[in-house]
Each structure stands twice: as structure tokens, then as C-alpha cells.
């Protein structure tokens, strides 16, 4: 019997295997940020342990960083102290760091791939659940807790039990205007927030193969929202083309050797997954969430569901709680939901293609009166590229705010937050209660839906926009 992609990558990293024990896995790349690392460095210090492999470790600042006035001292003393702690720890232990103001700074899951550090067949970990993003390259990538961060710093390995494997096969063509974000939201709604628990997901099928690298990252990013340990996509020409020439991609003979290896990283035809899910891409449409977990979503054309329609008691209760928190009524059309804020950014949808997609819709249009729109590039590199293409101008002319790179309103650890009761359409990955600010209400959407929503002031897709929404004729700017 053949092997799945996940099994192949796992097996290539086993340092030690013994009966009755978890496998000891070697970690190829360890990404650090300011929030989940301080207690890990403390642990090293207490035990007088060094960082074992500085050459496989890299840090950036993202969760706490402000997105305006970045040249001024950070106002919040606690945020400032946390960033200063990271700087101090990296200096003391010798870890490469890209701090605020550096050209390689940004959300950790945007930075790794764009440097070419995330490569097929590698193991990637970070003290952050959205590490699953890197699985888009055919890497085995998962989020870890702070104790494990310390473990990897000290040993470059992790003892882990191998999860089961689940194939998510998406065949057919995504209809016009339907994006990777809609696809992953639909997958999570189908299998539930616990549906992937204990599994490594492999996204496959023609619809997945046709996606760009950035769209693949959007999908793998949200694997954790289905409860999965990791999500993966087999590397192919698209992957190799994305990597070639990047700072840390292999070169010369190494490149050829790497590609030869990467080409073996496919699930064998006779491999068997522990579970399988099939999705027909052509049946999908723009998808939004109405509740307080990412599995509580529906097509934009649908209505807010009636909790009474759930057979399962705990789902019913969860839906009731969600509607109350979200201030929604069963049966209300999703398109009738007005928003106060639109956020485009995060490690899910803060890459250049996402900004291009939002800008294309906003070009020549205006953000609706009373709506605040924040555009936060995922990294400084993304920001520079957007400026080169003039996207920042499109955003500001439409009335949106163009900000500096970071996590920003994805989790509101910096000043970018929703006020209590405020409602957002957000391209991020979590709609948990209070995630974007205490009492804030979040609807997860694609960048395209975010932009159309900003123009109309209520949840909408680009197809809802008429020429009349273009206040200034195209090309007249």
C-alpha cells in the first residue's frame, strides 16, 4: 500500500521511533514572534540551555505592532515591553530578528514563505495556530504551544504522535467571483470546527491544483479552524515557480536536487486516507459567517439560520448564543446585515493578490458613508509591492485607510479594534466573541466580498455592485 503526502514528510523527519512512545520529529524551520516566546526563552535561561539551531530559527514582530506612527515609541507600555523582551531575547541568544521598521517585518506566516524559507517537504513550527498556512507548499506545518517552543529551541525536535490523514478533494471549477476563502469557509461549515480534529488534511483535486500559491495559503491557513493539526497541498510547478529565485530558495545544483525530491512528494495512487471528503467546486458561491465560530457560515445569498432547525442540542445552543452575541435574528437575509468596519488583512488574506482583488473592486468607487475600511498589508514587502502597483492610492482615494504591516485587527492586540457592538466584515480567520475587540461582531469574508461590502455598507459580493456605485468614472482619477 502506498503512502500519503503527510506520511512521507512525517517519515522523512523521524529522528527516533520506539514502541509505545511518540515519534521524535526533526524540525526544519522554527518561526518566532513576540507573544508566545518570552516564557520559552525564560525556560532556556533557567536551565542554562542554548538555542540548538540558530540557523533554523527566525523571529519577527507582528501581533502587537501598531499600524500607524510606527516611527514613534509604542504607546501601550505592555505591548512595548513584550516587543522589547523579544528583542532582548533574540540579541541574547543570537536569533535572527526582523523588528518593526525592518523591510522583512510582517505577519510571521507571510514572512516565511516570501523569504523562500517555507519549502516542500520541510517541517515548520511556530507558536501560533495558523502555522498551518505553510502546508500550502507541501510542508508539514503546525502550531505549537509555548512549552513546545522551548522544546524546539532547546532540541530542534518535538515528540509527536502521528495524526490520521483526511483527504479533502475539490473537483471542478470555482465559479466566477468564488475564491479560496469561500472554498475554505464552505469546507469548515461542512465538516465543522471539530471535523478535522486529530487529522492532517490534504487538499487535492483539480480545483486545488488550479489555485495560485497565495490562494493555497489562504486554504491551508484555516485548516486549524476545522480543528485539524495541519493542512497540506502537494507541491507542483506552481510551488516551484513561486519559490525559484527567492532569498532562501536553493540554488544551482541544490535547486535541482531539491526539485527532484519535491517531485516525490505526492500521495501515491494506492495510498489510503483515514477519512475522505468530496466537494464540488462548481456548486460554491461567496460564503460568509453569521456566527461566532468559523463553522457557522452560509452562502451570502442565504438567511441567518434558525437555531431551532439544528437537531444536535449543543449546536442549537451554540447557534442561539451566537445569534444573541451577533445581534442577529433568525431568517434575516445575510445581505441585509450592515457593517461599521471592513478589515482587509491578516495571514489569511493580507497578501498581494488579496490586495489586488480588493483594489480592483474599489477602483473608481467609494467606501460607503459611515463605514471605516482598514487595509493592512501582511508584510512590509507586500506593502512595498502594493505601493509600486499604486494599490495604496486606489484604497485611499476610495476612502479606506492604508496602514502599516502586522496582525492588526485580526486579533486587536494593537490599537486597531472594534468598539463594543460594532460589526465588521473581515478577511481574517476567526469570528470568535471579542476577537477583534471587546463586544465586536465579526463576519468572515473574502477580500472581494470585503471590498463590495465596504462600497455598499452591507454584506455584499462584487456581483451586487452596479455601475452606479462607481461615483467617479473609471480612469478619471
Amino acid at each position: 500500500m502506498g503512502w500519503t503526502l503527510a506520511e512521507k514528510v512525517w517519515d522523512d523527519h523521524v529522528v527516533r521511533r520506539a514502541e509505545g512512545e511518540p515519534d521524535l520529529l526533526f524540525i526544519d524551520l522554527h518561526l518566532l514572534h513576540e507573544v508566545t516566546s518570552p516564557q520559552a526563552f525564560d525556560g532556556l535561561r533557567q536551565n542554562a540551555r542554548p538555542v540548538r539551531r540558530l540557523d533554523l530559527t527566525i523571529a519577527t514582530e507582528d501581533h502587537n505592532t501598531p499600524t500607524i506612527d510606527i516611527d514613534k515609541p509604542i504607546a501601550d507600555p505592555v505591548s512595548r515591553a513584550q516587543l522589547e523582551t523579544l528583542r532582548k531575547n533574540c540579541a541574547e541568544f543570537g536569533v535572527r530578528l526582523h523588528p518593526l521598521g525592518d523591510v522583512e517585518q510582517g505577519v510571521v506566516h507571510v514572512v516565511g514563505p516570501q523569504l523562500g524559507l517555507t519549502q516542500p517537504g520541510t517541517t515548520v513550527v511556530c507558536g501560533d495556530s495558523h502555522t498551518s498556512t505553510h502546508g500550502a507548499f507541501g510542508a508539514l506545518a503546525f502550531g505549537i504551544g509555548t512549552s513546545q517552543v522551548e522544546h524546539v529551541l532547546a532540541t530542534q525536535t518535538l515528540p509527536l504522535a502521528r495524526p490520521k490523514t483526511m483527504a479533502i478533494t475539490v473537483e471542478g471549477e470555482l465559479p466566477d467571483g468564488v475564491t479560496a476563502k469561500d472554498l475554505i469557509l464552505a469546507i469548515i461549515a461542512k465538516i465543522g470546527t471539530g471535523g478535522g480534529q486529530g487529522y492532517i488534511l490534504e487538499y487535492r483535486g483539480s480545483a486545488v491544483e488550479n489555485l495560485s500559491m497565495e490562494a493555497r495559503m489562504t486554504i491551508c491557513n484555516m485548516s486549524i479552524e476545522a480543528g485539524a493539526r495541519a493542512g497540506m497541498i502537494a507541491p507542483d510547478r506552481t510551488t516551484f515557480d513561486y519559490l525559484q529565485g527567492r532569498d532562501h530558495a536553493p540554488q544551482g545544483a541544490d535547486w535541482d536536487a531539491a526539485v527532484a525530491y519535491w517531485q516525490t512528494l505526492r500521495t501515491d495512487d494506492d495510498a489510503v486516507f483515514d477519512a475522505e471528503v468530496f466537494i464540488n467546486a462548481s456548486e460554491l458561491s461567496p460564503f460568509v459567517t453569521w456566527g461566532t465560530n468559523p463553522g457557522q457560515g452560509a452562502p451570502l445569498s442565504a438567511n441567518v439560520p434558525d437555531p431551532a432547525s439544528y437537531e444536535d442540542a449543543s449546536e442549537r445552543l451554540a447557534a442561539e448564543n451566537a445569534l444573541e452575541y451577533m445581534g442577529l435574528t433568525a431568517g434575516q437575509a445575510l445581505r441585509d446585515i450592515n457593517v461599521d468596519t471592513v478589515f482587509v488583512g491578516s495571514c489569511t488574506n493580507g497578501r498581494i493578490e488579496d490586495l489586488r482583488a480588493a483594489a480592483e473592486i474599489l477602483d473608481g468607487r467609494k467606501v460607503a458613508r459611515g463605514v471605516r475600511m482598514l487595509v493592512v498589508p501582511g508584510s512590509v514587502r507586500v506593502a512595498l509591492q502594493a505601493v509600486e502597483e499604486g494599490l495604496n492610492k486606489v484604497f485611499t482615494e476610495a476612502g479606506a485607510e492604508w496602514r502599516h504591516a502586522g496582525c492588526s485587527m485580526c486579533l486587536g492586540m494593537n490599537p486597531d479594534q472594534l468598539a463594543p457592538g460594532e460589526r465588521s466584515a473581515s478577511t481574517s480567520n476567526r469570528n470568535f466573541e471579542g476577537r477583534q475587540g471587546k463586544g465586536g461582531r465579526t463576519h468572515l469574508v473574502s477580500p472581494q466580498v470585503a471590498a463590495a461590502t465596504a462600497v455598499l455598507g452591507h454584506l455584499a459580493s462584487p456581483a451586487d455592485l452596479s455601475d452606479a456605485d462607481a461615483r467617479t468614472p473609471a480612469g478619471a482619477r
Binding site: 516564557q39 525564560d42 507558536g127 504551544g145 512549552s147 513546545q148 522544546h151 480543528g227 449543543s314
Partner: protein
């Protein structure tokens, strides 16, 4: 890590599913750089409501959390485990835990016990009817006991041994230094490096 053998205490019945780590400890608490002092952040938003179960006087000093399915979903923040422990919880019972949360809890000596939802339901009913009712979580016998309820639970042998002994993972792994060094020596040259050696 503190060893866990058996624990008996009163319970907090938390009738909610999908309790994500943003609810357990909101993001603004994550700016702290220590492992302690998180108790006031535990379930912070819900605790604003006097009727919230944790605020009830009869739940004061409870050490066993009995939660709905899919507890600990979302962010990988270990702060969620620290917050539960700082508050005084020794063990959490649920029919399903998120993977990362479960891993984090076991690494810190917070025992997460998986029981069928019917048993969780019975524990809820018992402890809601009688707030003084005690629950025993016995890792030696792999059993949860309460008035009229005895339920076995599973935990993989290795994790159980480490908890019972209170063993530190890093020291255990470092005993395999020779294996790690051998693996490192065999890695292909094309693998990425963050800095040139």
C-alpha cells in the same frame, strides 16, 4: 512540571460548546511575559455577568471544570492553560478537546479528561443539582468517580507516565542527543537555513 496522580474537588459545570481560547483568555492578556498572574483574565468577558457560573458563590474554590464539546479550539496560546491553572483548576473534563490545547495542558500538568457526552451530561446534572458534589479524577486507575457515576477514560500510556512522574519533556528528549546529531548529519544540503552557518 507538577505530577498528577489523583485529584478530588468540586466542579464548575460549563454548559457551552466550542469554548475557544480567545474566551478562555482574551488576547490583551497575552502581552504578559510570565507564566503566572492570568487568573483574572480567565473567561474575562463572561465573568462580567454575575450570573455566569464561575461567579456563583457556591462555585468558589472549585477545581474541576466540566465543559461542553470542542473545548480549547482556536489559538495555540498556552496562556489558556496557565489561566485555568492560575485560577485553581487541576483538571478539565469534556467530550472533545482541540488538539493543541490538549497537548499544551498535558505539558503543564493540567489533566484533560475525555468522557462521552452522556457522562458529561450526568456530571453536569449532578453538580448543578448539588454544588457541593465532588468529582474524583484518578489517573492511576484512569477513572472519574462521582456520586453514582464511575467512568473510565483513556490516555495514551506515554503521556500518562509523564504526568504521573511529572517529567520534563526537554530533559527526556536530550537523552537522545546521539540520535538527533545523527539525523542532523544526514540532512540534505538543499534544506533551508535562516542564517548561513
Amino acid at each position: 512540571m507538577e505530577a498528577f496522580t489523583t485529584h478530588t474537588g468540586r466542579a464548575v459545570p460549563l454548559r457551552r460548546s466550542n469554548v475557544d481560547t480567545d474566551q478562555i483568555i482574551p488576547a490583551h492578556w497575552l502581552k504578559k511575559v510570565t507564566r503566572d498572574g492570568f487568573e483574572d483574565g480567565l473567561f474575562e468577558a463572561w465573568r462580567k455577568d454575575d450570573a455566569f457560573v464561575l461567579n456563583r458563590p457556591e462555585r468558589k474554590g472549585a477545581t474541576v471544570l466540566v465543559a461542553g464539546p470542542d473545548f480549547g479550539t482556536g489559538s495555540s496560546r498556552e496562556h489558556a492553560v496557565w489561566a485555568l491553572q492560575n485560577y485553581g483548576f487541576k483538571t478539565v473534563i469534556s467530550s472533545r478537546f482541540a488538539d493543541i490545547f490538549r497537548g499544551n495542558s498535558l505539558k503543564n500538568g493540567l489533566l484533560t479528561v475525555v468522557l462521552p457526552q452522556e457522562t458529561v451530561e450526568r456530571l453536569w446534572q449532578l453538580t448543578e443539582t448539588d454544588p457541593t458534589a465532588e468529582i474524583t479524577v484518578d489517573l492511576v486507575a484512569r477513572e472519574v468517580r462521582a456520586d453514582g457515576i464511575t467512568a473510565e477514560f483513556e490516555l495514551d500510556e506515554n503521556a500518562r507516565w509523564r504526568l504521573l512522574e511529572g517529567l520534563d519533556d526537554i530533559s527526556l528528549t536530550l537523552q537522545n542527543e546521539a540520535d538527533i546529531a545523527a539525523y542532523e548529519a544526514s540532512r540534505p544540503a538543499f534544506k533551508p537555513r535562516t542564517i548561513q552557518a
